[in-house]
């Protein structure tokens, strides 16, 4: 690998760590709300970009290219849903979740679930599921980062892994959400520049879009079919539904993604953030799959489909631009890993340590505990990634399906359905996760995401309706939902302080709302 590529990568790392230090100076970690949610001061552009950069992991550069290369135009179904993933998320739950989380005084997406579905079991189950599955998701990003670094630098895998993990941890550790959001913003720009550049180079190399498709038809015309190579997916509507849904509505079930709503400067932020998300997605999301399709012509002898975009970059671009593309790949990996690392540290500290072990812990102690946990998770993840690295993309697809299935109805119904109650949410989370898992290991006729979301929604509706009398939704939550549904400012005097734990803040909201009735 040329020294020019290394220089660009180094420059990229310096900027990313620099943003971390800047976030500290800007006060990103001065108190718990500042550390965990950036003080709820994040504007629309950064909200949109951190939402997208967090959602798009290294999968896009490796898995997306591979899907295009192996299945042809069928893979476009994944991109077709993904383009709208950001705006769907922001328009369906963005404004309402920002407002309800503020009214209920929630600092984490798991704490928010307990406030909406009040019972300690809600947080235990949601926190446990999240920490368990997100840890594996981080592990996948660490391994992808280590492998990418090793490929670019020629360093041994464990050294490259240590560098990749170390850089991610430094800025997450330093500045919390603020650092993560702003590095994500920078990384989203690097990602889209790198992707567009290599897309243009590949298009040029094929002689244009029509010429590329004609050349692919010469190799195998079924690549051009929407049913995939060899018409392998002909009539397989559940597969198509799963491909479109996983990245369009699936994001609404990812705890580390929906946290972005809670950190917005105001509910109105969702409006412009939706527009920015779609614009960014239009440039970024389809390109990896198309690059994989172009590689059918440009790299007919490619041995490893996951290396399609790496190889195209190496062959078509000058060294300096290859450096930008490599930085973009690392950006995709790191921007996802940092968000999940912070999320897992947050859940473990706020939702488990403070909630169940040390309820009186103050902000300073909580930030410290969160940092220690991030360090511990990073070290454990590093050790597992070195000693026995599992398959990266199997983990990514599996964990995203399980998380989406577990939490999608819980987050959507939290703001849209007043009858959604605690038993409904608990059954929905457990049933959704379990059915996605079973669909995966039994190769069920429905894709795990579709099976999981279906079961999860059914359980939420059936159990909630069946237990309305025994477990009615508390009146203060119904009132808070009414206020959330209204388009307008939150009335004076009902906001809770984020410094307080569940009981005092819930009590305060209940007292005030009941008094206003």
């Amino acid at each position: 690998m040329s020294s020019v590529v290394l220089i660009f990568l180094l420059l990229y790392y310096v900027i990313v760590v620099g943003i971390g230090f800047w976030a500290v100076k800007k006060g990103g970690a001065k108190d718990l709300e500042g550390y965990l949610l950036g003080g709820r001061q994040v504007g629309p552009l950064v909200t949109a970009m951190t939402l997208q950069a967090t959602s798009m992991s290294g999968y896009m550069f490796l898995g997306g290219g591979s899907a295009g290369f192996t299945t042809g135009y069928w893979s476009i179904f994944y991109a077709s849903g993904d383009i709208g993933g950001g705006v769907v998320n922001l328009s369906v739950i963005g404004r309402r979740m920002r407002k309800l989380s503020k009214i209920l005084g929630s600092l984490t997406s798991i704490e928010y679930l307990e406030h909406r579905y009040p019972h300690p079991a809600t947080r235990l189950i949601a926190g446990g599921l999240s920490v368990f599955f997100l840890f594996f998701y981080i592990l996948a990003q660490f391994i992808a980062g280590g492998k990418g670094m090793a490929l670019v630098t020629g360093l041994p895998y464990w050294v490259a892994l240590a560098i990749a993990v170390g850089i991610i941890m430094i800025y997450t550790f330093l500045g919390g959400y603020f650092a993560v959001a702003y590095t994500d913003f920078f990384q989203s720009l690097v990602m889209v520049i790198g992707m567009v550049w290599i897309f243009a180079a590949a298009l040029n190399a094929t002689g244009g879009f029509t010429a590329a498709n004609n050349a692919i038809a010469q190799i195998d015309p079924t690549y051009l079919s929407i049913w995939g190579k060899g018409l392998a997916h002909k009539g397989a509507w559940p597969d198509i539904l799963g491909a479109v849904l996983i990245f369009s509505v699936g994001y609404m079930g990812w705890p580390h993604v929906v946290t972005r709503h809670m950190a917005m400067k105001s509910p109105k932020t969702a409006r412009m953030a939706g527009v920015y998300s779609t614009i960014w997605n239009l440039f970024f999301v389809t390109a990896p799959y198309m690059l994989g399709i172009f590689a059918i012509v440009l790299l007919p002898n490619l041995a490893d489909p996951e290396m399609a975009i790496f190889t195209l970059a190496g062959e078509l671009l000058p060294a300096a631009v290859t450096g930008i593309v490599m930085a973009a790949i690392m950006a995709a990996i790191m921007s996802t890993a940092d968000s999940i690392l912070l999320q897992v540290g947050t859940i473990a500290s706020r939702d488990i340590y403070q909630r169940f072990i040390h309820p009186k812990a103050d902000d300073k102690r909580m930030v410290l505990v969160s940092r220690i946990l991030i360090l511990a998770i990073g070290v454990i993840g590093f050790i597992v990634a070195v000693v026995k690295p599992p398959s990266v993309f199997a983990i990514v697809i599996f964990t995203t399906s399980v998380l989406g299935s577990a939490f999608l109805p819980a987050y959507v119904c939290a703001v849209w359905w007043k009858k959604a109650n605690t038993p409904g949410a608990i059954f929905s989370m457990i049933g959704g996760a379990l059915s996605a898992y079973l669909a995966e290991i039994t190769s069920f006729v429905l894709p795990p995401m579709v099976a999981g979301v279906l079961v999860s929604f059914i359980l939420m509706i059936v159990v909630s309706l069946a237990t309305q009398k025994s477990h009615p939704v508390p009146s203060y939550i119904l009132k808070a939902m009414d206020l959330t549904a209204e388009v307008g400012p939150i009335p004076k005097g009902i906001l809770t302080s984020a410094e307080f734990n569940l009981s005092p803040e819930a009590m305060a909201v209940r007292k005030k709302l009941d008094k206003d009735k």
């Binding site: 135009y73 476009i76 179904f77 991109a79 077709s80 849903g81 383009i83 709208g84 705006v87 769907v88 922001l90 328009s91 404004r95 407002k99 503020k102 879009f209 029509t210 010429a211 590329a212 498709n213 004609n214 038809a217 051009l224 079919s225 929407i226 400067k265 105001s266 509910p267 109105k268 969702a270 409006r271 939706g274 527009v275 779609t278 997605n281 239009l282 389809t286 388009v487 307008g488 400012p489 939150i490 009335p491 004076k492 005097g493 009902i494 906001l495 809770t496 302080s497 307080f500 005092p504 803040e505 305060a508 007292k511 005030k512």
Partner: protein
């Protein structure tokens, strides 16, 4: 179109158009969303 079968072209270009229209509708329909921030700060941190 572009050497692609009609259904493939419809999916490739149809979905982005759909999402652009969806985004425009969302943008227009949310035009009256007020910026709640000031009121929140005025009324914030009450734990009565």
């Amino acid at each position: 179109m572009f050497g692609l079968p009609g259904t493939t072209a419809a999916v490739l270009f149809g979905f982005p158009i759909f999402w652009i229209v969806y985004t425009i509708i969302f943008f227009v329909k949310s035009k009256d969303w007020p910026d709640d921030l000031e009121t929140e700060e005025e009324g914030g941190n009450s734990n009565e």
